[in-house]
Every structure is written in C-alpha cells, then in structure tokens.
C-alpha cells in the first residue's frame, strides 16, 4: 500500500518536473509576484484599517454616527438595490436572447453590452447630465414638470445602472451558449410552457453564475465613484453616496472619518471576494460533476 502511494507521489513529482523551472527561477518569480502584491494590494489595504483605527475604536465608530454618513450608507444601499435588480432582469434577458436565438444585430447587442466597460465612468455620468441636466436635451421639459433626475436619486440610479450593465450579462452569455438549447426544447416537447421551461430548466442551470454576476454587479454599484460623482451634485445627507462621502471627508482633512467610511467599502470588497470564491468553488464542483461526463460524448454527425 505504502509503496503504491510512494509510486504515485513519485509519478506526480515527475509530471510536475515536466513543466517546472529551476529552483532559482522559481523563487525569483515567487518573490517578484509577492512583492508586487504587497506593494499594490496588501499595504493599501492595511493602510485603510490602520488610518481608520488610528484614534481608537471609539472615534472609528463615531464616524458612523454622523447623520451624513448614515444618509450616505442608506443612499448607497438604495441605489444598489435598484440598479442590481434592473441589471439582473436585463442581463438574464440579454444573455437568453444572445445565447439561445439567432437574430439580426446580435453582434451589435453584444458590443453594446460592453460599452460601459470601455468608456470612462465620468463620461457615463456626463451623458446623463447632457440628457437630463438643466441645459440638457430634455432638461427644460423635466424642469417644467418638476421632475428631478440630475442631482437626485434617479440620476444616481441611472448612472449606477449604466456602469454595472455588463456584469451579469457577460457572466451568463458564455455559460448559456455552452449549455445550448436542447434542454429547453426537451422541456417544450414535454408540454412545458415557455415560462415553465425558463424557471424550471434555464434558471436552475445558470443560478450560480447568476449569483456570481449579482455579487460583482453589487460591489461595483456600491463602489462606483466617477459616474455618480458627475450626476450627484454632492449634496450632503441627500445625494452623497459612500464613495463620495469618503472624498468629502478626506478633503476636509478628516482622515479618520474618511478612512473609517472607506473601511466599510473595503469590507464590502472583502466580503464580495469571499462570496465570489465560494461561488466559484461551487460552480467548479458542479461543473466538474457535469461537464466531463457531458463532454465525453463522442462527436457524431447529425
């Protein structure tokens, strides 16, 4: 038994040796990578928390008692809770259409979905100012009817939605494309309605990727600065989201307050990463459970 294990270990080592470098090169690469990560990721992360806790826990928590900070938290959560469901609906619909059907303009739609990733968030915000601002295209009409979009919640939600459009759709499209249409067709031939096929076959097949997309989208929605900054107007207690509030505090030399609020966003990022990792594990295990068996079907003509 032990010789069998020893043989297996040896075999693994031999396999590893096929693709590995000499020890010196290996260590040099590891140190370079670690140094890079320390400099650009770990130190800033640690700095956020050291700065935030510089004057002790008491002043750290005091930063959140401030009504403006509380308002910023509320607004951020509200904006995200509107933007994420919007993108959830759009993302699933777009991915469904792109993955399961052929139609004219499909390539254009795929490209359009990526636009928010390609343009600077500031420009995304400016687009809405141009459209809805006081001097914008529909601005005068809105003013007449007393509808406020820019420098108000609707503008913030619009900007947030715009920058987070790609996350869910991009997560789902490749998965749904690889899953094909056959399971849905099978459901239809078995008498399911389109809605039943969607809720009972399509959704369960994409649920982990969907959740993954929602989490990424949420993180981006809560952390968005540029686009929101342009449309928000920075009215304290009214149109300031968390990232904007950090900026204001910092500009007022309230470093502890700024970093305390920043640490909230950092915590959100860490939680997001943990959730993301867990979901990745989950999808990896469900994929490894399905895919090998799924893909061992020998290709055959039809």
């Amino acid at each position: 038994m032990s010789t069998e294990i020893a043989a297996r270990v040896k075999n693994e080592e031999w396999k590893a040796s096929l693709t590995s470098e000499r020890a010196l090169v290996r260590w040099a690469l590891i140190i370079a990578a670690l140094g890079y990560l320390t400099l650009f990721l770990f130190i800033p992360l640690a700095a956020v928390f050291t700065e935030a806790l510089k004057n002790g826990l008491e002043s750290y928590f005091a930063s959140f008692q401030d009504p403006d900070a509380l308002a910023a938290i509320r607004l951020t959560v509200l904006a995200a809770s509107l933007a994420v469901p919007l993108n959830l609906t759009f993302g699933v619909a777009a991915a469904w259409a792109i993955a399961k059907f052929e139609f004219v303009g499909k390539q254009i739609l795929i490209t359009l979905i990526d636009i928010p990733l390609a343009v600077s968030p500031v420009i995304s915000g400016l687009i809405y100012v141009l459209l809805f601002g006081a001097q914008g295209w529909v601005g005068p009409w809105l003013a007449e009817h007393d509808i406020k979009i820019i420098f108000a919640l609707p503008g913030i939600v619009l900007a947030t939605t715009f920058v987070t459009v790609p996350f869910i759709a991009r997560e789902l499209i490749p998965l749904m494309q690889s899953q094909g249409r056959e399971e849905e067709e099978a459901a239809l031939t078995l008498g399911a309605s389109g809605w039943q096929a969607f809720t009972r076959v399509t959704l369960p097949n994409i649920k982990w990727s969907l959740l993954y997309g929602v989490i990424l989208s949420n993180a981006r929605a809560m952390g968005e600065f540029g686009a929101v900054s342009v449309v928000s107007g920075h009215i304290r207690g009214l149109t300031n989201t968390l990232p904007l509030h950090v900026e204001i505090l910092y500009n007022e030399y309230n470093a502890v307050g700024a970093f305390a609020v920043a640490s909230l966003l950092t915590l959100l990022a860490i939680v997001t990463l943990i959730a993301k990792t867990m979901i990745e594990r989950k999808t990896a295990s469900s994929r490894s459970a399905h895919d090998p068996a799924w893909s061992t079907q020998p290709g055959s003509p039809s």
Partner: protein, 358 residues
C-alpha cells in the same frame, strides 16, 4: 397516430434543406429516416415535433393539420441525440417532468406521478438508478432515461433523433434491438432518424432514404436493400462496387477495366453504371467464361465473420471489394498477388446523366 407529411419545403437562408417532401406513416409503424449528414432528416423530424416550421406544405397527425400547432400542444415525444436530460434533476425528476408541468387540473397526484415514474423506469430497466443525476449515468443509461421521460406524457408519436448516435457500437446494437422490442410492446408510431444503415435495416418497419432534401426511396428494409431505386440508395445501403459501363455474364464489355474508352453517351446524354455488392461477386482461379474480369489480390482481411478481399483490376487502377465466406476463401487458398477472375452473381445497372466521369 398516423402521420402525413404533405409537400413540405424548408429553407435556411438560401439553402433548401427539404425540397417538397411527402411522406405517410401508418399508426403503430416504426419508420427510419435514413440519410447522410445534412440530408434534411433531422430538420424533418424537428418539423414534425414543432421545433421548426415548414416554409411550405402541411403536417397532419391523425388526419388533423398541426402545421401551426405549438410544440406544447402536439403531444409528441422527442428523444435527442445528446439526451438533453435536465442536468440538475435526478432520474426520477427528469421522468416526472412532463407530468409535473401539466396544469393543476390535469396533473396527477404526487403518488400517481411516482407510480407512473416507477413503471416507466422498470420498463427501461433503470429503476435502480432512480436517484442518480444524469452525469452519474453512462450514455446508454441516459438515453433510456430520456426515452422514459418522453414516454411519461403518453405521446401519440415518438420521434427519435439519432438516439444512439453518440454511443459506442456495442451499446448501440443492444439498444436498437431493445428499442424494437419496446416498440412491439407499446405500438407507438415512431420515427427514427439515423445515418446508420444497419440501424435502419434492423429496427424499422419501413425505411425512407433521404438525400439532399428529397426522398430517394421508401420501402421495407428488404425492398430498399435488395432493390435500391437509385444509385444513391445502392451506395448508401452497404458497400458497393461501381463499374462504369455495363458488365454482364454474357458480354465482355467492362469498358474501363478493359482499357476501352467509356461508351458513347446516348442521345439523352446518359451513360450506364453497374453496381455490384461485394458479396455478389464470385471469384475463380481460372477463366471459365470470356467475360470475366482479371484482377490481382491486393489485400485480404480475414477478421470477422466473412473474408474481405481487395482486388486491383488488371487493366485499370480500379479497386474491387469482394466478400467471401470463410469456406470459399479456404477453398481458393488466396494469397496476396494471386491472379483471380471476377464474376458478378447479381448486379444492377443504372443510367446516369452526363458523361461517365463519376
């Protein structure tokens, strides 16, 4: 339920997949749609299921037109080549799916559904696997589950799209015999799409041979195999030797083999082509009639129930395949390079359009 396909045409873009196809199946028949890849057989099946719409023509099930009926209302069982089992459901849940999506008023109670699922799983010999997920099953097992799932809704028509195409040869053979027995038990009108002529010959009551969107021949397996209506059917159903010109028992006119130019095309611009199955060729070691073709043994494959011999014609580069019984092969004591004389026992001559350059 009888099926009537009435002058159906289907195009994808500029490509005509089905060109004016008409077809009739009686209730309880098992029909094989046989043809090479891209001949339109799967498209025809999907049109029958309602997964595609024909551009022209009508589909009648049991005499009622269903061309525009939705899939959901057709009550057609469809079995996919790659099974299309719901990967997140167990075998039981898969089979129960069709019953569980019924409107509440028609839906059987959970107990009744479970009973029905158990019955079906026994029928396809999968009861022991009821709680497994599709990825824990072999290909053959998955396809049996897929069949049980399709049967659960008591379809009047069962459509099978290359159901065994993704399986290995042995399982495929077992399953098609099993499918035939199952059909004899259940008598559901079934249409089996396949590119495997053996599968069609063995499982079907009738075979419809499709090629490039039209029907080449319809008939019992015996009819299409013994009396192919067209050169295509002859070539598609089993191995065949093609001789340009006419060879016969009484005329020494194997043009190409004898080095003569091909016969003049007649007035209609046609020429003749002779088809002979490898097992319809007889070999002898000496010339007994003047018409026999002289050839040399190039290759002998003795593995299998019959001996396959490749000959090369003496006067032309044509390869001739011959199949002999083991006894005959032993009698002849053939070696590579031996000279033999070839004599057809049975042959078929077709007129082909155009000059003889096939």
């Amino acid at each position: 339920m009888s099926i009537q396909v009435d002058h159906v045409t289907k195009r994808f873009g500029t490509f005509t997949v089905l060109n004016d196809v008409s077809l009739h199946a009686q209730a309880g028949e098992l029909i094989a749609l046989l043809g090479p890849s891209g001949c339109g057989k799967t498209t025809l099946l999907r049109i029958l299921a309602g997964l595609e719409r024909p551009d022209q023509g009508r589909i009648l099930l049991h005499g009622i037109e269903v061309t525009d009926q939705r899939i959901t209302d057709r009550r057609v069982g469809f079995v996919f080549q790659h099974y299309a089992l719901f990967r997140h459901m167990t075998v039981t849940e898969n089979v129960a799916f069709g019953l569980s999506v019924l409107p509440q008023a028609q839906r059987p109670s959970p107990d009744k559904i479970q009973k029905k699922v158990d019955e079906l799983l026994s029928l396809v010999q999968m009861r022991a696997m009821a709680d497994r997920y599709p990825n824990q099953l072999s290909g053959g097992q998955r396809q049996r589950v897929a069949l049980a799932r399709a049967l659960a809704v008591e379809p009047k028509l069962l459509l099978l799209d290359e159901p065994f195409g993704a399986l290995d040869a042995k399982v495929r053979k077992e399953l098609r015999r099993w499918l035939r027995r199952l059909h004899d038990e259940l008598h559901i009108t079934s249409i089996l799409v396949t590119h495997d002529q053996e599968e069609a010959l063995e499982a079907a009551d009738r075979i419809v041979v499709l090629n490039q969107g039209h029907i080449e021949q319809t008939g019992t397996p015996e009819e299409v195999y013994e009396n192919p209506a067209t050169p295509f059917v002859y070539q598609f159903l089993g191995d065949v030797n093609v001789f340009h010109g006419r060879i016969s028992q009484d005329r020494p006119s194997h043009d190409e083999a004898s080095g003569q130019p091909p016969p003049e095309a007649d007035a209609s611009g046609e020429h003749e082509v002779t088809f002979v199955r490898p097992h319809d060729l007889e070999l002898s070691l000496s010339r007994t009639t003047p018409t026999q073709l002289e050839a040399a043994v190039r290759f002998v494959i003795t593995a299998g129930s019959r001996v396959r011999i490749e000959l090369i014609s003496k006067d032309s580069p044509q390869i001739i395949s011959v199949e002999l019984t083991k006894e005959r092969y032993r009698d002849l004591k053939l070696q590579q390079g031996d000279v033999v004389f070839v004599h057809p026992k049975q042959l078929q001559v077709f007129k082909m359009p155009g000059p003889s350059s096939v």
